[in-house]
């Protein structure tokens, strides 16, 4: 009898040991944080109403002044698209010096993950290259998208004997990727590049293998260039590539995968973000845009593309900026967005910090320069005013978060 009881006792002990070992990482972590930081700091981080009352932080509806808060006392977590990650990382680094009280954190987990996070309310803001669907707006309650940046996508190439910049137009690019143009010495390519001597070699078209905002922008552009592409393929973060079916397509993982495949494959073409091409000094093509001008991808041609569509924003503030009619517009471009909960953010201090940060990012000259250096472009005035107005409508507990 006694043995039985002792055995039972030991079993219980062991099981509880195992269980506690399993749950340690999640449940114990906050307790450790309490030990190392001051009580006040952790309570604000936790953001529960009663602890806010305990500390000297003002009531949620009265926003505190930034100077009154200790450094790093507000923890804001964002996640989502990797397309704008280089810029967001720079901005967050710079913003530490503007408002030390807020610690921003952005993880590039992909647009899909970002949207899921904001809908499930596991993150404070999301980054996304693709727009929310109608049912996602409603399932998330009160979501709103705000354009933050525009980025360009550029075709890169590796053609035997070609050292000068190649020029393409939309129809040709779409033709290459739907495998109707299969040779570099195709009349369409030759006609666009007088003076260049193209080889009689078949074109290997490289695309992103991973789902990506870059692909979404690129396929949006192709769909705008070519009705046939729009009907047969469409646009999205990953698509079914006709050139794969034809046997001349290769997928590369990430910008670096595409760039490596293009560099290692003679007579190939691919597409990467402008920022990646700039950082790695990869040659990219010029494009003939809708108005028939030859343009190069840069901050100016991006801004021109944004201005082309500045008046066509819907209430959801989402828009495409591909194939713009402006004389200087780069045709393969797209916005990347931030998604916020507009009325139901649980922590008003945090809500205020997020909106303040976004306003800074949209308006600060230094922030704009950082973006431009990386090959992105911040919004032109015509678009920015609309985004700022929409940001001013964010409320918490029914009161506006920031006075306009």
């Amino acid at each position: 009898m006694q043995r039985k009881i002792s055995l039972l006792f030991v079993l219980v002990m062991v099981m509880s040991l195992v269980l506690s070992a399993c749950s340690t990482p999640t449940t114990q972590a906050p307790a450790v944080a309490t030990v190392v930081t001051t009580v006040e700091v952790t309570r604000v981080v936790a953001g529960t109403p009663e602890t806010i009352v305990i500390t000297a932080t003002p009531a949620p509806t009265e926003p505190p002044t930034p100077t009154s808060m200790p450094a790093g006392s507000v923890q804001v977590n964002g996640a989502g698209a990797t397309f704008p990650l280089p810029v967001y990382t720079e901005w967050i680094y710079a913003y530490q010096y503007i408002d030390p009280s807020v610690t921003l954190n952005y993880q590039g987990i992909g647009s899909g993950g970002g949207k899921k996070g904001i809908i499930d309310n596991t993150i404070d803001f999301a980054g996304s290259d693709s727009v929310l669907k109608d049912e996602e707006y409603t399932s998330g309650g009160d979501l709103q998208m705000y354009p933050m940046l525009a980025g360009a996508v550029v075709p890169i190439y590796n053609v035997d004997g070609i050292t000068k910049t190649v020029t393409l137009d939309g129809a040709t690019l779409a033709g290459i990727y739907d495998a109707t143009i299969t040779k570099w010495n195709d009349p369409a390519i030759v006609a666009l590049n007088p003076g260049l001597n193209f080889p009689d070699a078949s074109i290997t078209a490289v695309h992103r293998s991973d789902g990506s905002g870059t692909t979404e922008i690129f396929t949006n552009a192709l769909a705008s260039f070519s009705q046939q592409w729009k009907d047969s393929v469409g646009a999205g973060s990953s698509v079914e590539w006709p050139v794969d079916k034809a046997g001349n397509g290769i997928g590369g993982k990430g910008n670096q995968g595409v760039a490596a495949a293009v560099q290692n494959t003679p007579n190939s073409i691919g597409y990467v973000e402008l920022s990646y091409a700039i950082a790695n000094k990869i040659a990219y093509t010029d494009m003939i845009n809708k108005s028939g001008n030859k343009v190069t991808a840069n901050a100016d041609s991006l801004a021109s593309a944004m201005n082309d569509f500045a008046t066509t924003f819907t209430d959801k503030l989402t828009n495409k900026i591909v194939d713009g009619p402006g004389a200087a517009s780069w045709p393969i471009a797209g916005y990347t967005y931030i998604i916020l909960r507009t009325t139901s953010m649980p922590d008003c201090v945090k809500a205020q910090k997020i909106v303040e940060y976004l306003k800074w990012a949209l308006t600060d000259a230094g922030a704009a320069k950082r973006a431009a250096d990386l090959g992105y472009s911040v919004l032109p005035d015509a678009v920015r005013t609309q985004v700022l107005a929409k940001l001013g409508e964010v409320t918490c507990n029914g009161a506006p978060v920031v006075t306009p």
Partner: protein, 343 residues
């Protein structure tokens, strides 16, 4: 045993009237068998529970995709469609890619590993055994992304591309084999063949290390008996040692196959990631783990996510089935061995 009895005597000799609970606690912990049993059983149960939880999750989360596509999802066809825009998904190209790269990598890796293991265990001079074995095991420690990068920049253009061209001109003209070896191989070398090559390099150290240990565990008496009967070294290795260690060697091969089936990063970097519909090893392809790694993060439509999870489910089931099959094989071989020894 003797030690235990001595301890027991010691306790009896020093018995004082301790509290009831203290006695029970001490009794329970003094003889470590029962707590130890309980601990190991709970660990084993935990493993099974995790396994089941993964299976159940994959099954449940792929419900939408399973009901939308049914068996059509698995249909072997060269015209499979994987179209996230229109929401049509068929997994055959990935299943084919995973199976063909894994199996072909085994075809390459097993003879190589067996040779290396035999050399290390039987023929290698003593002074060379440790450094050579260590270097081989080091191969297993290289992260797969390094294999991928090395593959893209060195191995594919320098090795796979010429080999692919050679295979295309030779086997590409043989009637049945041409189905699997017709080119042209892409100039970058990115192809199913490249993935199989990289995989074979990655699984060789695993198979080698275990096979070597199997050989080293074979009693010296077996070798001596065989040599005493007048066998040559070759006959001793081929007719005595390999049959003796066969179940262990098969176990090693299974471990290698498991790694090949699940390997993601290196394969994704070299396989070409293209759904072409060709059966040829020389063409770019796709594997199950690659499509999941590639598209899961940015899969925005629920159906797309579910289809990817269903691919994960299939990979899970295939891995499970192959492991069970292989386990049965090992048992069969092991039993046969014992009977053979008795006879």
């Amino acid at each position: 045993m003797i030690d235990n009895m001595a301890k027991q005597n010691h306790i009896i000799a020093n018995r004082r009237p301790p509290s009831r609970w203290a006695t029970r606690l001490r009794l329970a912990f003094h003889y470590g068998d029962r707590p130890w049993n309980a601990l190991t059983i709970s660990m084993a149960v935990l493993t099974i529970l995790v396994m089941l939880a993964i299976g159940v999750l994959l099954w449940r989360e792929s419900a939408g995709s399973r009901s939308a596509f049914g068996l059509n999802f698995l249909k072997p066809t060269t015209d499979a469609s994987w179209n996230p825009v229109s929401g049509e998904f068929q997994a055959w190209p990935f299943i084919y890619g995973t199976l063909v790269t894994s199996l072909f990598s085994l075809v390459l890796a097993v003879p190589l590993s067996l040779g290396v293991a035999i050399f290390l265990a039987e023929l290698c001079p003593e002074w060379l055994r440790l450094p050579l074995g260590g270097m081989f095991e080091l191969l297993a420690a290289i992260p797969s992304v390094i294999y991928g990068l090395w593959g893209i920049f060195v191995f594919l253009p320098k090795v796979v591309d010429p080999v692919g061209r050679f295979l295309d001109t030779t086997l590409g003209n043989v009637p049945v084999l041409s189905l699997f070896f017709h080119g042209p191989i892409p100039a970058s070398g990115a192809s199913l063949l490249a993935a199989a090559f990289i995989l074979s390099i990655m699984i060789t150290p695993t198979i080698t290390a275990i096979t070597r240990d199997v050989f080293l565990a074979i009693p010296v008496s077996q070798r001596e008996a065989s040599l005493a009967l007048g066998s040559t070294r070759w006959e001793t290795i081929w007719k005595v040692l390999i049959p003796y260690g066969l179940s262990g060697i098969l176990g090693a091969v299974i471990l290698g196959l498991g790694r090949a089936l699940g390997e993601t990063m290196a394969v994704t970097m070299v396989v070409g990631n293209s759904i072409g519909g060709s059966l040829s090893l020389l063409r770019p392809g796709y594997t199950m783990s690659s499509i999941i790694a590639n598209e899961f993060a940015e899969a925005v439509s629920p159906l797309h996510t579910q289809a990817l999870i269903e691919v994960g489910l299939i990979l899970f089931i295939i891995t499970l089935l192959l492991n069970i099959l292989a386990r049965l094989l090992v048992w069969r071989v092991g039993r046969g061995n014992v009977q053979g020894a008795r006879a």
